[in-house]
Structure formats: structure tokens, C-alpha cells
Subunit: 426 residues, 2 copies
């Protein structure tokens, strides 16, 4: 590891790979180029005629041949424990799949990885494309694989997962306990095994990592691929290295790497990037999506029935009500369990002021604790009690009434006892 090697070759990868020995590479990652944005399927065949697969490939032969030669070379240079990850364009997905199935004989398909991300666009018609596919094949069944673990789903009860289970006398599954009746934890919290859907933020327009190269991938994506399929000191190859993200990631993780590209510009860019490998320290990924949220489901559900624009990333406002007053939307906030009405009010007031709102609505969820809060309440805030609070108060009122009725009933009864019994005796 002390002597980490990265090599960048300016050449067509087919001829460059000829100089690489057979069974020498641990991982090949590639994001092949496409000759056309879209393949044309202008099949003008006779409907009555029996369908033939030749039709499907018409217009694709050149590309298929181009890729076949290269994939065959990739297969040759891979070690028996090696893997290949191919980044697929949507339109060529199925073609590459077919090619790989053929070259990597004996069902060495491992996974279809979905890289999903959120992205900007004002797509009007159809679904916004927001994923890319990466095909994962291995040369043999003895492929290297390091299991990575992800976070548990927010909805899972971790304790439940971690408790050891046994079967009781009736053979019914139950949680195991020790002699003191305490639960026994089965295994350490490793997390959930990584799934084949990877949510990794798309390279942001403001990211420092950006080089201006068109199809640049996030370093994080490549790091994950390298981590699961190689160990320290292994050798990674990218035959279409482009801006060199693969080599940067390999470097950062202590793997040797070879990059090939036919473009002079790409090779120079890669060499420069390797000089100072930078990786965007994605705040989103580090802190998690949840850390940006401030409206919880419960707060929103209290407001259900209103037409709302939920607001995250703002400590004071939970949502805007989509009915404007004086041309500005009205901010609304639900009082949290952990805060007093005054605390909620001042947070809301500050946020509303900065948005130039003339009015803001605070939904109170707990009985008031401060006798003088009405005078202290900022004037722009309108207070409304939550349904739950109203119901609770109504029930207390009813309970009180019920008790007092009982008391008066009992008194009446007692009165009768004293008074009437003589009558009965009479």
C-alpha cells in the first residue's frame, strides 16, 4: 500500500488491453460510450411475418460488435476471483445484458444494481428518469465479495431484530431470556446487508468534485463498487476512464489502478485529478436525509385535510397553507411534545418574520402552562387548538359532569333513604 500505482493510458482500450496479461485484474469497471443517443428501431417488417430476433438487432450490429470485442478482452484479463461492473445506458441495457450473458458463460450474472438519485428537471410528460443500471458479473463462482451493511429501515424495531429467538415447549417461536428474565441479544448490530438499489446523490452542480466532464460519476459510487469486490492492494481497471473517477476512488481506498481512454483531454484530466484526489464530502450522505427534516409525520397528520406545502430545513415553520393572505402564503406550525406554547410561538414568529408573513398559525397540542402567555404571544400569531386537545378537554368536562351528577344522585338517594324508609315501613 505504501507504493500505490496508478497508470493512465492514452489509447483505444481494445489495443491497450492486449498488453495486459490474462487473469491479472481484480475488478473492471466501465461506463462505455454510446454511438447514438438512441438506437433506432425503425422496423418496417411485415406484421404477418414471424418475428425474428435479427430485426431487433438491426442497426445495433456495429455497436454490438464494438462491445463484444472489448468485453471478451475484459473477460480474459480478469482473475478467476474477479468481477466486472458495467454502467448501462437505458437504451443499451438489454444489449449489454445479452452480450455479457454470452461472454461470461455459465450464468455468472450476479446483480442488476440500480443507482437511484433525485434530480432537477421540469419534465412535464412521463416519469422523470432518475436511475441508472449497473450490471455486475463475475468470472467464476469463486468471486471476491465483501459484504457491506447499511442502516436499518427507520420503521424496524432494532431490538426486536437483535433479540435471540427460541421455541417454547409448544414449539412456538419466542424471545429467549436469561435466568434473570432479561432478553439475550443474538448478534451485534451490523445493519442490513446492502441491497441492489443504491441511493447515492447525483453529482451536484456545486460540488467541488466536478470536473466538467459530461458523464462524471460520484466518487462514492465507485468507492462502493471497489469496496465490495476488491481488497487493499488489488488491481482495478477502467477501460473507458473518462474523467478518472474510478482511479481516484481506487487511490483513496488503497487499490492499484489502470485507466484507459482514447481522448487526450480525458487522460490529462485523470492525471491531474490523481495529483490531488478530491472527493466531495457529501453533507447529505454524511448527515442523512432525515437530518434535514424538521416536520415529522405526526405534525403533518395533525394538519391533514389542509392543502399544504410542507417545509423542511426550517426550524420554525412546518408548512405553508396554500391559501394566500395579502399575496403571501400563511406559515403554520404544530406545537411539539417537547416544547411549550411560548417556545413554539417564538420559533414560528422568528421564521414568519423573515419570510415577511403578516400572519402565522400555531396549532396548540397541549394545555397551556403559562398563565400570562396570551399577552406575551407575538401579534402575528393566531392560536388554534388541535383536535386531540379539544377532544381531551371535552372529555375532562364530561367526566367532571358525570362525577358531579353521580354525587348529586347519591345525595338524592341518601336523602330518599332517610326520608322514604319510614314511609316504606309505614
Amino acid at each position: 500500500m505504501g507504493n500505490l500505482q496508478s497508470q493512465v493510458i492514452l489509447d483505444d482500450c481494445l489495443s491497450a488491453m492486449k498488453h495486459i496479461g490474462s487473469s491479472t485484474i481484480d475488478l473492471v469497471y466501465l461506463d462505455p460510450p454510446f454511438f447514438t443517443n438512441r438506437f433506432h428501431f425503425s422496423v418496417s417488417r411485415d406484421r404477418k411475418k414471424r418475428f425474428s430476433f435479427a430485426d431487433v438487432w438491426s442497426g445495433l450490429e456495429d455497436y454490438a460488435e464494438f462491445m463484444e470485442f472489448r468485453i471478451t478482452e475484459i473477460h480474459r484479463v480478469l482473475k478467476d476471483t474477479g468481477s466486472v461492473f458495467i454502467h448501462c445506458d437505458t437504451s443499451a441495457n438489454f444489449l449489454l445484458r445479452a452480450l455479457l450473458n454470452s461472454v461470461f458463460e455459465g450464468n455468472q450474472f450476479r446483480s442488476e444494481i440500480i443507482w437511484s438519485y433525485r434530480r432537477w428537471s421540469n419534465s412535464a410528460r412521463g416519469l422523470l428518469p432518475s436511475h441508472q443500471t449497473i450490471l455486475f458479473y463475475s468470472k467464476t463462482d469463486q468471486y471476491k465479495f465483501n459484504i457491506l451493511y447499511g442502516a436499518y429501515s427507520e420503521t424496524t424495531n432494532i431490538d426486536q431484530i437483535l433479540q435471540l429467538r427460541t421455541r417454547d415447549k409448544q414449539g412456538i417461536s419466542a424471545y429467549a431470556t436469561d435466568h434473570e428474565g432479561k432478553v439475550i441479544f443474538a448478534h451485534e448490530k451490523k445493519g442490513v446487508p446492502l441491497s441492489d438499489v443504491w441511493e447515492i446523490p447525483f453529482l451536484n452542480p456545486k460540488a467541488k468534485e466536478r470536473t466538467g466532464y459530461p458523464t462524471q460519476k460520484p466518487v462514492l459510487l465507485l468507492e462502493r463498487i471497489i469496496e465490495i469486490s476488491t481488497n487493499m492492494g488489488d488491481l482495478v481497471l477502467d477501460p473507458f476512464c473518462g474523467s478518472g473517477t474510478t482511479l481516484v476512488a481506487a487511490n483513496l481506498l488503497g487499490r492499484h489502478s489502470i485507466g484507459i481512454d482514447i481522448s487526450q483531454e480525458a487522460v490529462e484530466l485523470t492525471r491531474n485529478r490523481l495529483g490531488s484526489p478530491t472527493k466531495t464530502d457529501s453533507a447529505l450522505l454524511k448527515k442523512g436525509r432525515v437530518s434535514y427534516q424538521n416536520v415529522d409525520k405526526e405534525a403533518l397528520s395533525i394538519l391533514s385535510g389542509l392543502d399544504l406545502l410542507p417545509v423542511q430545513r426550517n426550524a420554525g415553520i412546518d408548512a405553508f397553507i396554500k391559501i394566500p393572505i395579502d399575496n403571501s402564503l400563511v406559515p403554520i406550525r404544530v406545537q411539539r411534545n417537547t416544547e411549550t406554547v411560548m417556545e413554539a410561538a417564538s420559533k414560528l414568529a422568528r421564521a414568519a418574520n423573515s419570510k415577511n408573513s403578516t400572519k402565522a398559525i400555531l396549532v396548540r397540542t397541549k394545555k397551556n402552562d403559562d398563565l400570562f402567555f396570551n399577552e406575551k404571544l407575538p401579534t402575528l400569531i393566531e392560536l388554534i387548538d388541535s383536535t386531540a386537545l379539544c377532544v381531551r378537554e371535552k372529555i375532562e368536562e364530561l367526566q367532571a359532569k358525570s362525577v358531579s351528577e353521580k354525587v348529586s344522585n347519591r345525595m338524592l338517594m341518601g336523602y330518599n333513604d332517610q326520608f322514604c324508609s319510614p314511609k316504606v315501613k309505614f
Copy 2:
């Protein structure tokens, strides 16, 4: 819409579709069966020989032919505005893609939808498969498409959503301001257009929905497909209907439907799920767009913050509040969108009476329509307004005030004009 039709046919879909007229169907959804779990790519060809696509398809011809005939029929019965959604097994993904590209000529590919879900597994080696692919093709460019909108990302800045933006002289994006330098609010934002990655929970093993049929899909998934590609009263076809989820979803959304399956068991199951096959015009389905399930969930969410005992399958009561009055729990009901306060009240009163409750709480969600309802209201019912209703009324009040203030301001201005101008002149 009053006469919603669902038809379930026991037959091979190829022969059954022959009886369906050309250009009559708005949406075809299918989850085709697979002859083998995995296709075999036991290509023992000579490495030196030039790659030929015939190799790829060897062993697949039967299946390809089977599907080709059926997809061709599907193409025929589709209206010009119609779409098809095909649920793909991973191993046949690329085959179906190729077939569809051929049968749906002229690049009518729309989307590759990824249905992703979290699944429990202790898979040791490799990535946990946790997605399925749905291919979306349309017959022509004039396909029906209803845009659904989702929430903005947690990291998105609200100002950007609220404020109008322009470009300055240098062409750099900036927030727009009016002549006084005040921000201009943007037009109403609906949210983010739906992406092609759908995170929908896998059918929970214990879910009521589950019928025991192996490949059953969540109703939510089908509902989304139907919603984006059809309108009320349209006709949906599922040629491999299995347990009938497509037909159930179509019914819930007010679409006519035809289901075909070759298995007697599947057809019976579907008919049972739809209720009586002859009595398709059920009261439940007439209610329209939103399913009962969703409505009930929303009703309960309005009450969040209360300690409740939810009640299933009771026409009058949504839940009991876990605080007793006179030793009996208090029933509560939320007024539905489709009913008046009086209707809700009488349903609740009847149910509460039969439970011997002395008090019941009705949560009103809409402004009252009946002036004399207070006298008509059963005495055991206590009325409480929902938070949403209170907020809406408060906003109306504020709007009215704002208008009247403007008017009086204008009057004042006019007054000032008359009064002050002499002063200025002076």
C-alpha cells in the same frame, strides 16, 4: 361510472384476446409467467468464432415465441392513446425489452420503472435483490399521461420554491424583485414530478390483502400505474391476472377491467376478491377515487395525539378513546368528505347507542350545511371541529379582515390626499 364492470375470463390470454376488438383497451398491465426460474446460457461456442446473437437466444426461442404472440395481440387491442406496463423477471428483462422494441415500433419506449422495496434476508454473499422492473411502453406518442407529484427533497430550499426567479444582465440566476425591491412570489408549485423509481413496501406477509397467491403485487403499485395512465371509466386489461390485484385496483379507482387467467384457481380467487362477479356495482366501489382503506387511515390520522383503540369494520365508529366516562369508553367518529354532519352524526349515534355509550364525539371536518342541525343533533353527541376546519375558518376571517383593512387604507389615503395637499402647498 355508476355501472363499473369487471370481467374475469378463464382461458389462455392469447385466445381470449382474439375476442377483444382492436383499439379498445386503455391500459394493459401484465406480470407474465416464466417457464424456468432461470434461463440457461450454456453457450459452448468456439471462442475464436465471431459472436452471433443466435447464441444468446438459444434456449429462449420457445419463451420468446410465446411472448411475442401475446405482446402482438396486446398491441392490437390497445387504443392509440393506450399504454402497456410489463412486470419483468430479472432474467427475462432484456428479452422482453427486445421484444417490445420490435412490436411497439418507432421508439415507443417510455420508462423503465424500478419498483424498490426493503426486504428482510440474511443473504450472505452478493447484494440483496430488492427491486423489480416494470417496462412502460405506449402505442403512440399521443399516449394518456396524468402527472403525479411528490414531495420536494429535504435538502431543497423553500425560498427557491416560494420566490420567482429571473436572470440578470449577465445571465446569472437570481431572485426576482418588484420595483420596490420586494420579493415576488412564484406561481403555485405542485411538487416534484413522479420519478421512475418507486419505493413501495413489499406486501407484508401478514397483510390482509394477501390472498396466498404467489406473485401477488401491492394494490398501491397497481393503483399508481392505473392512475398515471388512465382516467375514470377507462378500460384496463390484465392478461395474466393471477390473484386479481389489477382488477381490484381498477375497481377502487373507478375503471372498468378485464382479467384473464388460464388457471381455474386464479379466476375463482379473483372473482372472490372482487366480491360477487355478477354484482360488480358495489356500494364500496361507487364511492370513487379513494379506497376505503385510505379514507379510514386519513380519518384516524386527524385524531393523532389521542390514545385510541381503532375500530375496524364499523359503519359508525372510527375508534374508542381510551379514557372511560361512566365506566364505558367514548366512541369517536371523523366526518367523511362524502357525508354531511347530520349523516355522520346519525351513523355515530346509532352505533354508540348499540354499544350503550352515554356520550360520543363527532369530529366535524366541513362547514355546516344545515342551519338547524344543532337542534336535530342527538343529545349524546358532542361536536368538535377538526384542526383543519378551524384553520380554514381562521384564514377566511383573516382574509376578510385584510380586504377591509385595504379598503379603509385606501379611504384614508384619499382623505389624506385631500387634507394634506393644501398643507404641502402651504
